[in-house]
Symmetry: C2
Subunit: 519 residues, 2 copies
């Protein structure tokens, strides 16, 4: 016999899904059975759904292929939502399979019943219910194809348990529907073309393919023009960057700095990025990063194609960018005994970074110097964790990145507060023997919130408020957490110790963790 669950796995594979991250429950037991028999997709067990969601996002961002999750009813799905929110903002193609109650039990309001549709609606571009009206293989393939159409995103597939266990006859593969390419209206292209050649006042916000190696040639047509300022969003899904690549800076996180960066901008051309928006409102700041009358021109088609089609973009070159010109200077080793600080940490990472590394970045306040310092490091891929602002994504994201690119190094730079949302992810670093070096940037507090508190004025910095943002006492020993999950770990509080620890980590394959103390 062939169960519905088996057909659904086949349908996911039809759509090109090779990986399925899971934390299953009883309503998914037929999927567990089917996964034990099917060669594809390959299942990866995680200890919590939050980690599974982070991993699926990481695999999708690195492979460019859709990945899947298998989660348990409403509560299991809920545990994944924060990082599915980040994945949604990263436009990652993901199919979330949820094992639901069969109708006969659901009608009685059993303990685990909840409103799965409402939960899924918050992050899904579509929610598909497996019913008797469509073969489960086709429903699954349809979900997969939809996840990776012209506007990639998350599709949730809800499977009642009776349809996962039903013996169902075979059916042939559902063909991938044609994907009509997105078009930017002609008038918008003309407007963009004019804006890109205005002598000043035009900013371009790039994203998508333009930030990947394959888009760099097109990107350079923008970055080398004198009249343009070119930005990525603060937390884009992925940036291939480093020595010799076109230099694109990310919009600053703090609204006052972003407002300053975009000062005098009268036109913004959106080429694969998102509109410039502040992360948060502040009583003393305007709600907008650009003037109310600033024109926003959005290229809705593939950004590389759209920019390439604008033939008027010719030379008019500015000084070659730092990134494409400056060679690296070896950092002095004179201060090996120096305590770690954000500046020497960033220099050190930039100097030691192996070529082709994937850097998962959730370094937050302690990582503020990294962007500039690593601009001249060997070419690497930067994966900002916080595409949607949900903290704690990085350790899971690294899992997916490492599985999707087993030949590459992954360096996960994770602030201590962030790491403590999902320390369970470290178990997968070990259980899958992943090539991930994790650096915990430890200042034993929620740095960004301390910063925000300080901005409220000294009256706000009461002992009570500061204690509420402190991760000690007791101090958390991240090396013990790591070794408890099977990841070898060490501690570094000076430049020299960190250099040695990184060298040691990179000499061998497999996971390791370094607790870098900024104290």
């Amino acid at each position: 016999m062939t169960t519905g669950a088996q057909h659904i796995l086949t349908g996911l594979a039809d759509a090109g899904i090779e990986l399925i991250f899971t934390n299953p429950g009883t309503t998914e037991i037929y999927f567990v059975d089917a996964l034990g028999k099917a060669p594809v997709p390959r299942p990866v067990l995680t200890l919590t759904e939050a980690v599974a969601a982070g991993a699926a996002d990481g695999a999708a961002r690195i492979s460019g292929q859709p990945t899947a999750l298998l989660l348990h009813l409403g509560p299991g799905l809920a545990n994944a939502i924060a990082y599915l929110h980040n994945a949604k903002r990263a436009h990652s193609p993901i199919v979330v399979v949820v094992g639901d109650h069969s109708q006969g039990v659901a009608d009685q309001d059993p303990p685990l019943a909840s409103d799965i549709d409402s939960l899924a609606g918050t992050f899904s571009k579509a929610v598909i219910h497996v019913t008797k009206n469509e073969h489960p293989r086709h429903s699954a393939a349809r979900a997969g194809y939809l996840a990776i159409d012209a506007t990639p995103g998350i599709v949730t597939l809800i499977v009642p348990s009776d349809l996962s266990w039903s013996d169902t006859s075979d059916v042939s593969r559902l063909q991938r529907p044609p994907i009509p390419p997105l078009k930017t209206p002609e008038a918008t292209l003309e407007r963009a073309s004019a804006a890109l050649t205005e002598p000043d006042g035009t900013a371009v916000i790039v994203g998508g393919d333009l930030l990947r190696v394959e888009g760099h040639e097109t990107l350079e047509r923008l970055t080398r023009r004198q009249n343009l300022t070119v930005w990525a969003n603060t937390f884009p899904a992925r940036m291939d960057r480093g020595l010799g690549t076109p230099l694109v800076r990310r919009l600053p996180y703090l609204p006052e700095m972003a407002i300053s960066a975009l000062e005098n901008t009268r036109r913004v051309v959106i080429a694969g990025g998102a509109k410039p928006v502040p992360f948060f409102a502040y009583p003393h700041l305007p709600d907008r990063l650009v003037a109310d009358d600033c024109e926003i021109i959005t290229l809705t088609s593939d950004p590389s194609a759209a920019i390439s089609s604008i033939a008027t973009l010719m030379p008019n070159e500015k000084e070659p960018t730092l990134s494409s010109s400056t060679s690296r200077e070896p950092a002095t080793k004179a201060n090996d005994g120096a305590a770690l600080n954000p500046a020497n940490f960033a220099s050190l990472i930039a100097e030691l970074l192996p070529a082709d590394t994937i850097v998962v970045d959730e370094s937050n306040t302690l990582g503020l110097n990294l962007e500039e310092a690593t601009a001249t490091a060997p070419v690497h891929t930067w994966l900002p964790a916080l595409t949607g602002g949900a903290i704690g994504h990085g350790l899971g994201l690294a899992i997916g990145a490492a599985i999707a690119a087993p030949e590459r190094h992954v360096l996960a730079l994770i602030a201590d507060g962030s790491s403590l949302y999902t320390p369970q992810a470290l178990w997968n670093h070990a259980s899958e023997a992943l090539n991930i070096t994790t650096v915990i940037l430890s200042n034993r507090s929620y740095g960004i919130l301390n910063f925000e508190l300080a901005r409220l004025g000294s009256d706000a910095e009461t002992e009570g408020a500061k204690r509420l943002l402190s991760l000690s006492p007791p101090s958390i020993d991240h090396t013990r957490l790591a070794t408890g999950f099977g990841v070898p770990a060490t501690r570094a509080s000076t430049v020299g110790q960190l250099i040695d620890a990184l060298a040691s980590a990179w000499r061998s394959r497999g996971p390791s963790l370094i607790e870098a103390e900024f104290l």
Copy 2:
């Protein structure tokens, strides 16, 4: 000046809220400021929202008072939903305060924007938006009063950041509205009265007050009648029980056992419990635990009051129950070297349990013998974690229980798979110096899913499927996780070792963890 955030805390305190568990973000920074200055409610920082939700539920279940959560936008709220789902099923009174974007930024779809109302709607009895149309102190008090009215539950209060920072004039306290008591219709009471005196075929499912010390006298009128079978649900919110109390068994988890327990039941009287419903559907079992024509009579009023009002319930006594008669026999110490198994583990816990302990139970498959064994232990409170079936609740639940009852011992019995959803909770066990002894019941697998897999038949037990339910390799060292979070820990794999470890834990106050290996 007095900010909206300060007024909201005052409003929560007006409604009797003394504790607020939090994992704040930038939209809650004015709450952080306010919490640093306000004496009440007392804030407790947790490392993830899931732990905060568990703790709020634990405090509410033990204190009977409303508690609060302070969470960050949609993703922070999402991280709490699984355990708010359990809290909803436990009817715990909780106010969830969510710091939202101000409208001016929300309109621009900033990275953290998501559909908070849809998320909150899945577990809330009401969602209240703080607006300019009502004073924030009053909105907060209204939320608190609503959470603890005649049908306690969760109320979500959404606070736009500009209303949390606005300087707002004072206002007098909102009076608690009168709470009209719930009434059971007279006809239903008569029907129940008749059913309770039928010679056979009547089962009673009790909950709420009837399972607490204050309801035991009324409960005994049911448990001592020969003609009735009296049950609690599988995972009630709270049971005060032990030697000398009326014995009430919990409906078995497995549907075949529950069906057998309710065989020949023609009437079910619901007195504070929930209708008997299977946790899950199975292909070889009926969807219902009782016959389709079984009459369900639900007492909608306070169950103690309703039962008390049924004057016809007079003697007709059955044999005194085990619990109210049998004294405890000391366990033999002959087999100190025996490996731990569910049977000797349960005997040992029953024998050693200090009087008045709160037992947080998420022991799952390894704890199957506990219910019967502990029925004759000294009077204690049993807190089943899985009221709504969402795994991983126990370590957080213990925090709230211990804070609400600082003079009592808390014993948290947590299966290893469960503990790994929320190991961060251990940090609070240490940071608040809580009187919690955690026993991790370790079999290095998801026992319940292995059981379900085995039930599918030998064909399902492929290596791939079994590996997908295994928590090793690598084996997780729970003592390292615990000490990493600041909780002293030890390991026990024999009866003697566990006896010694528990004795040592109970000799001193403060947290400890024992990894009990069932291997």
